[in-house]
Assembly symmetry: C2
Homo-oligomer: 418 residues x 2
């Protein structure tokens, strides 16, 4: 055991550099190879090689020249937005959302499917996903052949390589072969991961973690967790389950969690935990919609805007737990930025952020706190869909290094099946 080497291959570096160059180009099209070299710290020769590969793949396009004072005119490149399409699937506890993007990761179409409470058998979820994927392809009017891949985010622990949902605690799924089930309906290359990592990769490519050394993306939804963007890449852990901050003990012997532990962060700051905070404070509050997380969080947000004292207290209580839990992340990771992401963070917005900042200041060590910015996700659309689509983009880019200069194409037919 002790001597298994940790391989650092030139291919890993090459893949990371390819991501970095494409990230820059997506953020700043059109741009020159010289600007890319300056922005990434890579040599001009390396940038030229990587740009050449991306041009060959049809992911970039040449868009003319700019003058350079006294020197030769510099060639400009831009993302070839219409060079392909990417689909991101956000399977959440209460809905399925699917979005289709062009190669600049601009969203072209969206489809939402609600799931009723209890509607959580794998076949039911797969049917919703297949219907929504069919819908976005039709809406966007893209040829199916241009879809480079579909990234799928499912809550809980996943085995990416086998495409299996190992454990989804809210549904009690165990070892569901989700990609096999989906591939009976969807003919595009499929990539599986979970919302923690989808949100983290979305921030890394397009949001508040872009260009930051170490970032923690705190995902606040029904479940909660922390996507870890360390050293410019995702930290996945040895079995791809890193980031389960929602299941760290904050209150020893506290509330019982569905994971079996007591006092987990998630039991205080996940949407059901926030509902419990509200119920404990004011059992008959009209803000409380017992069977509807979304309606309750929406009502809290409106209550805070209207200075409702119960809503203000619930947000403050929640921020106290959240602040202590985020301080733990700040002290352990010493990140440059902590990003609050997902629908609960988006709905409660700045009032939550302000309370959280004050709470973190009380709990965290002064120096790592001073080195950390705490922000709301700047991504205006569903970060899980965007991140899932980014996994499909990374998959397409990675298939280059594995198979030479040819992006993987749909296996069988041009559109979604059945």
């Amino acid at each position: 055991m002790g001597d298994v080497p940790v391989k650092r291959t030139s291919r890993d570096i090459r893949t990371a550099n390819r991501y970095e160059v494409l990230r820059q180009i997506i953020a700043h099209s059109p741009t020159s190879r010289q600007e890319l070299a300056a922005a990434t710290g890579l040599s001009l020769a390396t940038v030229a090689t990587l740009v050449g590969e991306l041009l060959d793949l049809g992911m970039l396009t040449e868009v003319g020249f700019e003058d350079s004072a006294g020197g030769r005119p510099r060639g400009l490149v831009a993302v070839n937005a219409s060079g392909g399409a990417l689909i991101g699937v956000d399977i959440a506890e209460t809905y399925v959302r699917v979005e289709l993007f062009d190669l600049a990761l601009d969203m072209l179409a969206r489809a939402d499917e609600d799931m009723r409470p209890g509607e959580n058998r794998p076949e039911q979820v797969v049917a919703h996903v297949a219907a929504a994927v069919g819908s976005v392809v039709t809406q966007a009017g893209v040829e199916g052949a241009r879809v480079l891949g579909v990234g799928v985010s499912v809550p809980g622990q996943v085995d990416r390589d086998r495409g299996v949902s190992e454990y989804a605690p809210n549904w009690d799924w165990h070892d569901v072969p989700l990609l096999d089930l989906l591939s009976e309906h969807i003919a595009y290359p499929l990539y599986l991961d979970n919302p923690l990592r989808a949100c983290a990769v979305a921030e890394l490519w397009f949001g508040a973690a872009r260009g930051r050394g170490d970032a923690v993306v705190v995902n606040l939804g029904t479940g909660v967790g922390a996507g870890l963007a360390l050293g410019g890449g995702l930290h996945r852990g040895v079995s791809n389950s890193a980031g389960e901050w929602g299941h760290t003990t904050l209150v020893l012997d506290g509330r019982l969690c569905h994971c079996g532990n007591h006092g987990c962060v998630e039991t205080y700051v996940g949407a059901p935990g926030i509902m419990l905070n509200l119920r404990e404070l004011s059992p008959s509050s009209p803000l409380l919609h017992p069977e509807d997380q979304t309606a309750t969080i929406d009502a809290l947000a409106r209550g805070v805007a209207a200075q409702d004292p119960v809503a203000l207290t619930v947000v403050r209580d929640t921020a106290r737990y959240l602040g202590a839990g985020i301080s733990n992340l700040v002290n352990v990771f010493n990140p440059e930025v902590v990003v609050l992401s997902s629908w609960v963070a988006a709905t409660l917005g700045d009032p939550l952020l302000n309370e959280v900042r004050e709470a973190v200041a009380r709990h965290a060590l002064k120096r790592p706190f001073a080195a950390t910015e705490i922000v709301l996700s700047p991504i205006p659309t569903d970060p899980v869909c965007l991140g899932a689509a980014t996994f499909a983009l990374e998959g397409a880019l990675q298939s280059v290094s594995q198979r030479g200069a040819s992006v993987s194409r749909p296996r069988a037919r041009a559109g979604p099946k059945g």
Copy 2:
């Protein structure tokens, strides 16, 4: 801000590969370039280049040939143990320990200096370090000119680049320019870091983290923390303060910590926290030596060996806190191995380890728990001294990439000053 690039340079890779090759050679001398390539996953050409550099530096030596079935005889290399000396300094709350190593990191000499309670002004600590460094050089009889560097570990948060102890909570040090003070007495190149990272780098080079992808080294002493060996290197964070797990909240609104927060892990499992666990259980226990942490932990270890019920209960209580806290690390990092290091772990040994394993099994998520081994540090000597000496070795290796093939030498004179 958002566009500062994350540079991945070929020099970083080269340095990491140089470490990896030297680690293998130290572990398995003599060895061939072919074996090194197989063990590290690097190409034979890369290994040959790195071995050549280390030979030029005098860190390796050629030691003959081995037959390879039918092929050309293979040249064997080994660490040139006498090619230089490295010194590791462990400044702890109650003592200073200094060890001198040869280049195979075998210890040649040790000096200990006790510090009385209250004896913690920087000048006092510096005087102890200088005396002990002088002592080990004299004992070992090495020429001062062969000392390649001195690694210094000091508790708390440090600025390595400036050589400053930014904050040492147990002594209330703030921004003490420790390396400047030491350099008035010690003429060798000096490298500053803290015990969390010293223990982690010792495990990475010589212990349970060697060859592991992701390891967490839990440091149990007066203070506690977690050294993070991720992807084969140390995770330091944006301001070099990552790993402050001792100051994460485990019991919201629990015991007051000297950092200002309540319920920190350290207040339950650091040596003073364990003493408090004992005092709360049995205020007049003969195991308790109120002013002496070491004596108390020693007494607990003897009590456990003798099946003393109070000692058994204290260790079980402590393991319960420790198990919940380590589960947080398992769930967040999903590491391959968790190593229990430093003097409290070494003293309480297997009885503590067994209780901790059971407690982690109760608190952690099943899948990351199943992927994680929990072990005591296999390093038989002081891991902080070994790790500090390793920082000096890394410093000497790094200076190669910065200055060409010449190891940094003492600045002024051959021995310690004063």
